[in-house]
Structure formats: structure tokens, C-alpha cells
Symmetry: D2
Subunit: 130 residues, 4 copies
């Protein structure tokens, strides 16, 4: 899937580039877009399934900077999924040039108990369909 975005001024730092701490936020936006496109947006996951999706691992390789005003896209999708865990992989691209790559690993939590649960079936089947 592809998620498109522009750099906001408040995301830049005194090096004149996007601060690295925004990339995990861009990835989160992409995942939110993903769930929305599946017809099961994350706010619905949280309300209907009483499930939080948490981040367990984050890996980012920064290859080139993004600047204020840049338009970029994130190509991404699910790379792994088992009973409890699923991972996304991301490539941040600007003008056909790779800006960064990343990977995130997630689990689902029961919002009442705070315990990790197996991925709810309805969410799993949605994720599988992609």
C-alpha cells in the first residue's frame, strides 16, 4: 500500500531536515491509513474489539534527509504475522529515491487487562486479505 504525505514545518529541526523522531509517527499514520482502507479503522478496533495495538520493536535506517515542503510516499505492508505478532515493513520514497526503510513489530492488548492476546480473528482476516 502507499501512503502519501508532505513534510510539515514543525517536523523539521535546526539541521534543516525532518527530525528522526517523526518517522515512527509517519509509520503510525501509514498503519492508521492501512486499517482505514481495510474498512476497520483503529479507533473502531479500540472501541469495538477493546483492543490496543502496541509497538514491540522499531527499526529505522535513515539514508537521506527529508526537507520542509517535501512530498514523499511510504510503500508498506505486512511482512510477518503469526498467532500473536505481526510486522510491517516500510520504504520512505521521495522522487524515486529511497529516504529511509523501517520495520515495526506489534501485538494486540486487551484494553481491560493490559495483557497480550492473540490477534482478534476479524482483525487477522482483514490483515490477511491484503
Amino acid at each position: 500500500m502507499i501512503y502519501k504525505r508532505k513534510v510539515q514545518f514543525y517536523e523539521t529541526d535546526a539541521q534543516g531536515i525532518v527530525h528522526h523522531s517523526n518517522y515512527p509517527r509517519y509509520f503510525e499514520e501509514a498503519r492508521g491509513y492501512y486499517l482505514e482502507k481495510l474498512g476497520y479503522p483503529y479507533d473502531k478496533v479500540r472501541k469495538d474489539l477493546k483492543t490496543d495495538i502496541v509497538l514491540l520493536e522499531l527499526i529505522i535506517e535513515y539514508k537521506k534527509p527529508l526537507y520542509f515542503g517535501d512530498s514523499f510516499e511510504i510503500k508498506f505492508g505486512i511482512s510477518e504475522m503469526d498467532k500473536f505478532f505481526f510486522s510491517f515493513e516500510y520504504t520512505v520514497i521521495k522522487n524515486s529515491s529511497i529516504i529511509a526503510t523501517g520495520k515495526t513489530k506489534h501485538a494486540c492488548l486487551n484494553r481491560n487487562t493490559g495483557k497480550i492476546i492473540s490477534i482478534p480473528d476479524i482483525l487477522r482476516s482483514k490483515l490477511h486479505g491484503t
Copy 2:
């Protein structure tokens, strides 16, 4: 009261200065420090009194920039308080020079109902003592 702070790199923007959206965060830090010094930290307010403190109004005048590495202080205190509302005023100072001034107005919410409540007595008496 005085709250001291250093500028972090991730708070700067491509103009090379602290992005304006960090000042409300600095004020929040100052208020947190304030409640802590009163012996009634905000996490205790939230847990014991089931009370959220919310922001109703924010005013900031930006006079001079802050740069990465700057040390600054916030002189601040309660400027108004009635049954339901209380306000803080802030002066951000670097090397005896005024960087910014600000004001915030707050109310207390019952965390279960989400409704505004009169300022809890214990919190009021703490705030009055200052």
C-alpha cells in the same frame, strides 16, 4: 516559582529556533513541577481525586527566540482562582532577557463523567498556599 530547563535539539525547527508549539509544553512542565513542589503531583491528582486538569485558554507572546543549548527559566504562578477556574501566568527568561510571556486558564474535570467540577478543596488549599 521558578522552573529551569534547557532547550533540547528535537525542540528546534528549520529556522534554527525552538518551535513555538513547545512553549505550551514548557508551561505544562512548569505546572507539573509546581504541583510536585506543593506535595500533590498531578499523577496523584488524577489517581486519588479522579480529576483531570484541562486547559481552556492559552495566550503566548513570543518576544525573542530560544536556540538549541540555551538554558532558560520560567517564572510563574497562579494569577487568578475562583470556584471553578484558575489561571497561571508565565515569563520565560534567558540571561535576564524576556523571551516570552504566557497565560493559561484551567478547570478541573471529573474523570468519570468528563464534567467540569469545582476545584477540589484539597487542591484549592494547596494552590492557595502559594
Copy 3:
């Protein structure tokens, strides 16, 4: 003009609502959108005119919260402009309900000297046209 936006998860706080420090960022996004629609995006202002637009004053009244997943719009436009200064006013709206109102006052800086300059003619004429 109207700028549309969805709340991102990373913009929420432990009260379950959008943290107040995101509203100045939403306003900045709206202004960026505005300059883009005028055909004079802010990155061009910075590069071609060697001009930074800085924030001098910020006022926000928070009336109702925004939650994760909310879609909202910002109705906004220029409310004042003289030789040196210009102001925007904003109304944040969700489902016809006013969430917040705001005002920001700005000046232009020469990026080399860091001094306030009169609003560059080309920028002024663009802003006037709206």
C-alpha cells in the same frame, strides 16, 4: 479557507484527547495549505524571498476536545494586515460543533539579518487577494 484533517494517534494524550500543544501545529499546517493554495508555498517564500515568517502571538480557546479518529476542519483566514504584521483567525469545527478558536500574529524576518522587514510586496499582494 477550509483545511481538513484527521486526528493522529500520536497527537492524543493520557486524557484520551488531542493534547493542546497540537493546535498551534494544526494552525501552522493550515497556513502552509493557505500559502500553497495562493501559489506561493512557504518553502518558496523561504528560498526565493529569503524570508522567514515568525509567530509573535498565539491565542487559543479550547471549548471541546478532539478524540483519536476524529475528522475536523479549520475555517480560517487573514483578519488583519498592516505594513509589518498580519494575523490569522481560526475556528476548529467537528460535525458543525466548534471545538476551538484561535488567533496568530506574524511578521516577516530577513533570513540573513534576522531582522523584521515589511511584508514583501509579492507576499502581501497574494495575501490581499484572498
Copy 4:
């Protein structure tokens, strides 16, 4: 080295925990503290050596959440260094319990050319001394 910190309210999200995008910021704070303790703060590196330190890789494993009001510490230090690159490793600890571990890989850039340079001798000798 150990860097101590408290969780700020604006760092929490609607799950009631510190949003994962703050950990890279905590690591940056720790590195800033580190350079300061070496007697060569990063703003001096940037001004005197005309050198930016950039992030090339980021790895974080999130094991337990941090909550508003938590006090935590980051145990960290340089784990690798060659002519061009150096890495830090971090352990985030609360009450003797490991909250997260992380690693960052860095290079130095000439601020005028934007090109990667070998680690400046003075910076290298400082980093080696630790």
C-alpha cells in the same frame, strides 16, 4: 553513564502510556547530556567544529510501558566507533525493571557541504575517554 528523567504529560498517548516516538527523543537527550558531561556540548560541536551529528540507524525494543509521572533512568554508552561511525546502546530502567533497550548509529557531517566526514579528532578523543 546514567541520564535521569521524568515522564511529562504531553509525552503520553490515549493508551495512557508514553508514546513510542518519545524514546528516540529520550535517547537524544541522553546523548546531549553525555557530550555536556565530556565538556563538549553538542551546540559547541555544531558551532566550533561546524559539524552535525546525524542518526543513521535506530533500533528500539519496547518491553514495558512508561506512565505519566514515572521516574526512569537511561543507562547508556558508546558501543562501537571506527573512523566514520559510532553507536550508542541504551537501557531504559524504572525501579530496576527494564522498560526498553535501544541502539543508535551516527556519523558526523560537515555543516557546509552536508557530506559525511571522519569523526573530528577532538570529538573522537573525548568519546574515547569514556
